[in-house]
């Protein structure tokens, strides 16, 4: 992880008054997935989005990635308006989405190949990013011979190799076991510290959200919107002393966890009651 300069990216991502409505078959069936979302992400921030199902977290990520366009409002990265997917925003998916006909290193340099970067250069960058996620000894392994955790690490290395300003992650650890999850959380924080990129991370786990995020946004459904925002420093504390368990069992962490859980359970309860009366 030593020996190369971190690219200074003083980009800023701005979500201004974004709404998204899924049109139904009839006008009364339209679903408002997001309404009036405002959020500014500075470079080097680790944003974690948390919320009850249906709160629009994945919709928000798809808008950031450019896989969807907002019905109202706009998203800008630096001085560019986001109008579709692009190499300045890397995406890591819930299920790995790697290409099974390529080995680990070819998967990692695939984005640069699409961009027409010369072989030697893209190989060098892939090697560097695989080392960053601890896969320096697995270059020639096939994807389907790797464990789920390793596949997701390749996914992270692949996204980083395109050197995006922002890394978008949609529950990348949802399918992993608890131990792998914890080790990848720690890995992700070290990658974040090292690359200083904007991270936007969706999760269902309150503990994961608190541990990873430098800012936590809590979203509520119907319509999807940001209801609470918390500045956090648990990730900094971990990067300073490396003791994840101590942080996750500290009184302020637990107190924070209960607060956030309270909000989300409240939303879930409200949704199920509305559904029951509908």
């Amino acid at each position: 992880m030593k020996g190369f300069a971190v690219t200074a990216q003083m980009e800023r991502l701005k979500i201004s008054n974004v709404s998204l409505t899924y049109p139904g078959l009839h006008s009364n069936e339209a679903v408002v997935a997001l309404r009036g979302v405002n959020l500014t992400i500075e470079s080097g921030e680790f944003i974690v989005a948390l919320g009850a199902s249906g709160c629009g977290k994945t919709t928000l990520l798809n808008l950031l990635a450019g896989f969807m366009s907002p019905t109202e409002g706009e998203i800008t990265l630096g001085d560019k308006r986001v109008e579709g997917p692009g190499a300045d925003r890397g995406v890591v998916f819930q299920k790995h989405a790697l290409l099974p006909w390529l080995n680990v290193i070819d998967n990692t340099e695939f984005g640069l190949k699409l961009q027409g970067v010369p072989k030697a250069q893209r190989r060098e960058r892939a090697v560097r990013n695989l080392a960053l996620v601890g896969l320096q000894d697995f270059h020639n392994h096939m994807i389907y011979h790797l464990s789920g955790g390793m596949q997701q690490r390749v996914g992270v290395a692949r996204a980083l190799t395109c050197d995006p300003a922002m890394l978008l992650m949609d529950e990348p650890m949802a399918a992993l076991d608890a131990l792998t999850r914890e080790s990848i959380q720690e890995l992700l924080l070290r990658v974040w510290e090292h690359t200083h990129k904007m991270f936007f991370f969706i999760t269902h786990s309150v503990e994961e959200a608190l541990f990873l995020g430098s800012r936590l946004i809590v979203m509520s459904p119907r319509p999807g919107r940001i209801t609470h925002t918390y500045e956090l420093d648990f990730n900094r504390r971990f990067l300073a002393d490396g003791n994840a368990r101590a942080i996750k069992s500290s009184p302020d962490f637990i107190q924070m966890r209960e607060t956030v859980l309270g909000i989300i359970y409240g939303d879930e309860l409200q949704v199920s009651q509305e559904l029951a009366h509908a």
Partner: protein
């Protein structure tokens, strides 16, 4: 209902159809050949209806050396191989790209879907007269008839293969700066390869089944012609011999494609 038997160590309980079956197939083949010997040697069936294995073998030797139906067996085989593989290669370079286009483009799908779906269920013998009227009785109409029969299943398989790419794989490629053309070439076509291979296996099989029909078109050589010609002389031994030769070639080629499949798409069934 009885429950599944407990499995041997290292095997998965209840997995349908687990285990090696090659030796059972070998026994099936041996029993069938044994029965063939039995019923013909015992004289239960007249040679006209089922010639004995020995008669078929003798016919094979005669065909190989002196020839039947005016050509040696190798000349018949070579003529047929050229037709089947010519049609197969032609189908590979047209049906696979068209199938992929149908998978990725609304317009191509709209254009080709009615054509393929209309003629696909028609028996080649039904449009054989038209092919002769349009294209005459040379070598090309024979290849074209086989080609038509192979085209539909291969195009349909390629089109279905496009669907086996996941939207996440496509999104990931776009998010790494890929263009639509690159994504079709580097992601969609690769993801479709397993289905394309299945289409090729089905296609070549269909090609052999259409061979006899194709060689009804004024052929003077070919395995299908040899069978038809021998049938007119009630030479059952030559008919059975021709059937066996066609079957062996079709089976051998299927093995080759299956081997290529294992080498070229080792990820099949693992993702």
């Amino acid at each position: 209902m009885p429950r599944a038997r407990p499995v041997r160590a290292g095997r998965v309980y209840g997995a349908p159809g687990e285990g090696y079956s090659g030796h059972i197939s070998l026994i099936t083949a041996l029993i069938l050949i044994g029965l063939w010997f039995l019923v013909t040697e015992a004289g239960w069936v007249k040679p006209l209806f089922l010639p004995s294995p020995v008669a078929v073998y003798n016919k094979f030797v005669v065909a190989w050396t002196d020839g039947v139906a005016n050509s040696t067996l190798w000349e018949h085989t070579w003529a047929s191989l050229k037709r089947v593989f010519g049609a197969f290669l032609l189908a590979c370079v047209t049906a696979i790209p068209i199938g992929i286009m149908m998978g990725v483009s609304r317009i191509a799908r709209g254009l080709f879907d009615p054509i393929i779906e209309f003629y696909r269920p028609l028996p080649p013998l039904a449009y054989l007269p038209l092919v002769i009227i349009w294209l005459g009785i040379g070598e090309f109409p024979k290849i074209f008839l086989i080609y038509l029969a192979i085209f539909a299943p291969m195009a349909i398989a390629a089109r279905a293969g496009v669907k086996s790419v996941s939207i996440e794989q496509i999104h990931a490629a776009y998010a790494m700066g890929g263009t639509r053309g690159q994504i079709i070439r580097h992601v969609i076509v690769k993801a479709a390869l397993p289905e394309i291979f299945t289409g090729m296996r089905i296609g070549i099989g269909v090609g052999w089944t259409t061979l006899v029909a194709a060689e009804m078109i004024a052929a003077d050589r070919g395995l299908g012609f040899m069978v038809l010609n021998s049938a007119q002389f009630l030479d059952s031994a030559a008919v059975v011999m021709g059937i066996i030769v066609i079957g062996l070639f079709a089976f051998a080629f299927d093995l080759v494609v299956r081997y290529m499949e294992r080498v070229m798409i080792p990820w099949k069934g693992k993702v």
